[in-house]
């Protein structure tokens, strides 16, 4: 699931160093039980991946993420990403059943340790 960051508006404001510092690294939030199941630890570099691609994140183990859901906050510029791609690489062109909107916020992924 992708959520909004307080310190950017989608990819807008990536030019602001003050906001980038407050937004911190491009992180993926994962519930502690999910992380334990996969043998992943806080601060570790991970890949979120699906049939569309894979994206490197810094893992943040956090009870703020419910079980079974990982959360990526904000849309980063590729230049500020830990890998070559940003969360958009995991986004499908599927539309919502209501009103035919985009599904940027909701995509099925799995997570594994990087390297």
């Amino acid at each position: 699931m992708t959520g909004a960051s307080l310190y950017s508006l989608n990819s807008t404001f990536g030019e602001r160093e003050d906001l980038r510092r407050r937004r911190r690294a491009m992180r993926l939030l994962m519930n502690p039980a999910d992380a334990a199941e996969r043998g992943l630890r806080d601060g570790q570099r991970v890949f979120a991946w699906n049939e569309l691609g894979e994206v490197a994140f810094e893992l943040e183990v956090s009870a703020d993420a419910p079980r079974g859901v990982v959360v990526a906050e904000g849309v980063f510029w590729a230049a500020h990403a830990p890998g070559e791609r940003t969360v958009n690489a995991l986004t499908s062109q599927r539309l919502t059943d209501e009103a035919g909107g985009s599904t940027f916020y909701d995509n099925r992924v799995d997570v594994r340790a990087a390297g």
Partner: protein, 172 residues
Amino acid sequence: MPGGPQVPRAPPPPGYDALAVPRLVRSVCPYDCPDACGMLVEVEGGRAFSVRGDPEHPFSRGTLCPKMNRYQDTVHSPLRLATPLRRSGPKGSGEFRPTSWDEAVAEIAARWRAILAEHGGEAILPYSYAGTMGLLQRNAGHAFFHRLGASRLDRTICSPPTRSRGATPSAS
């Protein structure tokens, strides 16, 4: 407003060069939130020096989000495009050269006139959604494109499901 510069309310006198002297102007955040937050911007010589919330704005009452505080750093960012860019290489090559507004408008107008004459207005599709488009700006181009008879975009890229009847909690 004790302790702060007064906001000019009357229109400036004839001959007044608005950009030549330091002044505080009222503005409104141009981004998408419905709040349309009021801003006070310190301007001198065509540059903004500070941005802060307008305490007299009836809804936001002086509060700005972290992004709009120091918005002058975005407006004057060296990474910001300051002129139109014209593609100077093959599509996808990423090659562009700066051009003037006059040149850009003249070229676009000439090409659109040719398209309109040959194919009609529906051959032009304005593509936009929002972002830096507040309540006023987001519909500002519509009248122009309607007058051209342009095609209309089904603008569903971002949030239409949040406004659809089925997704409205109060819908029965």
